[in-house]
């Protein structure tokens, strides 16, 4: 399964040498910005972040939602349904990245569950795509082959795990052992009581 960086203006700028347009000439001839707006735009004061993380099943039922940017609680269900609809309507050959409003969606399907991450324009889609997989591997480790039911019955624990991975919309930990350490310690203490 491959993907397209077609929407990435900065990637287009990177491609141009293959097409026979010199990088230097793009930047220097007649003012850099005019000839290569893509590259310059990409470097302006962009906000690179994760906006939300959703786990929604094929029927559109939200199993987990985590927002890193303020979205009114009443607006969330419709956003989530819309997002899932978009992902469900994608064909198998299409890539896992969708332009949605003024940001992007990265989605991955695991059995009947979709994990969808909303990201800003300038975030690295592939890295988020793999972050989702890393997250699922962590869940598999903790729940021994995680299922949708595990998530439903352990919502608090899944949240605690996500809290270790993403904070303020940024990736803060990806080492599986370190992600699980606080939760395992909590479990141990809870057992002792």
């Amino acid at each position: 399964m491959f993907w397209i960086y077609s929407q990435r203006k900065d990637m287009l700028a990177a491609i141009s040498p293959i097409l026979g347009v010199g990088y230097e000439s793009l930047l220097t001839a007649g003012g850099g910005r005019e000839n290569c707006p893509a590259l310059h735009d990409a470097l302006d004061f962009e906000i690179t972040m994760i906006k939300f993380l959703l786990m929604v099943n094929k029927q559109g039922q939200t199993r987990l939602s985590k927002y890193y940017e303020q979205v009114d609680i009443e607006k969330r269900p419709s956003l989530e349904t819309d997002v899932v609809k978009r992902c469900l309507s994608r064909k198998k050959e299409e890539c896992s990245f969708v332009e949605y409003k003024d940001f992007r969606l990265v989605y991955r399907q695991y059995a009947a569950l979709f994990i969808v991450v909303g990201i800003s324009d300038t975030e690295n889609e592939l890295s988020i795509y793999e972050l989702v997989h890393n997250f699922v591997e962590v869940l598999d480790k903790y729940f021994s082959r995680v299922s949708e039911l595990d998530i439903m019955f352990n919502l608090d624990k899944v949240h605690i795990i996500i809290d270790e991975i993403i904070q303020n919309g940024h990736i803060v930990e990806t080492n599986k052992n370190r992600i699980l350490a606080p939760l395992l310690a909590l479990d141990k203490m809870a057992e002792a009581h």
Partner: protein, 318 residues
């Protein structure tokens, strides 16, 4: 929908009852989280979430903090009530409680109360346990984001974190540095050498094995470092020259056929094109992209997105 309304009624009753134990309160809080997740506000439970964080045992406390982080936002007045609890937990002898307090602080904290908590968090920067140092750095990152002037005086401590022997603490400091460098690259050019060295070590496999993801050493850390280098080397030949070697090395090493290595390659190429140009490196990067673009599975829609002035050149090989 009726079910949820009924559930909310039940929760409302139970949180108000004096007979509800903390253990029960924890379960109720999770149910309240569910209701809110489905779009139904349960604001009567907010104060009880804070109470749970204050009075519950360790796991209950964590759920209380979780509920608070999900229910409230930065501007909520309720958050002020949390400050005392957080302060207390930060100074607990139980490290788990210190960790969760630092986690909550990194998620949301009232700007005006930063002075009250800053010294306690600063103290944690030199804690013997790496997880506490790491979380303290992330809390300070949060403070920098919401009130940069409040943390001006501790930039030297960020440097210490950057040089911390634990890679997790070092990685945490990179969040702060990415922000600082983005805003003012000139003041941090002297860090280029350190960043290059760190990237070289990561790419060279010097980190413990559990930092690997599918045999790739700390890929997200590599991406973070590449972004930092892009900001440092932009429009600066001297600084860029310091990084050409490690950029080439990153390009070479990330040759496996896995999504995550492509993610690193993408970021690496982006950096190469951002910093002062070096022709051999540009060629290698172009070759790399060429392999992406010419992959048999590529969606030809891509061609349609090329800006108009390039269209006539596209007709050829592609």
């Amino acid at each position: 929908e009726r079910l949820i309304k009924k559930e909310l009624e039940s929760i409302k009753e139970q949180v108000a009852s004096p007979n509800t134990t903390m253990r029960q309160m924890k379960e109720i809080m999770v149910r309240a989280i569910y209701c809110e997740m489905l779009g139904y506000q349960a604001s009567f439970s907010y104060i009880h979430a804070i109470k749970l964080a204050q009075q519950g045992s360790v796991l209950e406390k964590r759920v209380g903090y979780l509920a608070v982080s999900l229910f409230l936002n930065e501007t909520d007045e309720f958050l002020l009530l949390l400050v005392n609890t957080v302060l207390k937990d930060l100074q607990s002898t139980n490290l788990i409680e210190v960790c969760m307090a630092l986690t909550v602080v990194s998620q949301m904290f009232p700007k005006d109360m930063i002075p009250a908590i800053l010294p306690v968090v600063e103290e944690k920067l030199t804690h013997p346990k790496e997880i506490i140092r790491r979380k303290a750095v992330l809390a300070l990152y949060k403070f920098y984001l919401i009130a940069p002037n409040q943390v001006q005086h501790i930039h030297s401590k960020f440097r210490k974190a950057l040089c911390d022997k634990d890679p997790g603490v070092m990685t945490a400091s990179l969040h702060i540095y990415l922000q600082l460098i983005k805003e003012n690259p000139e003041s941090y050019k002297d860090l280029t050498g350190s960043m290059v060295t760190i990237l070289r070590q990561v790419v060279g496999g010097k980190l413990p094995l559990d930092f690997n993801y599918h045999s790739v050493p700390a890929p997200w850390l590599q991406i973070q470092l590449l972004r930092i280098l892009a900001y440092l080397g932009k429009e600066d030949q001297g600084t860029s020259e310091m990084m050409y070697d490690v950029l080439e090395e990153s390009l070479r090493r990330a040759e496996m056929n896995h999504n995550i290595t492509y993610a690193i390659l993408f970021e690496c190429v982006k950096t190469i094109y951002t910093v002062h140009p070096k022709s051999q490196l540009l060629e290698k990067a172009a070759e790399c992209i060429g392999n992406f673009v010419l992959s048999p599975k590529i969606n030809l829609k891509y061609l349609g997105k090329i800006p108009p002035y390039d269209h006539h050149r596209v007709s050829g090989p592609l």
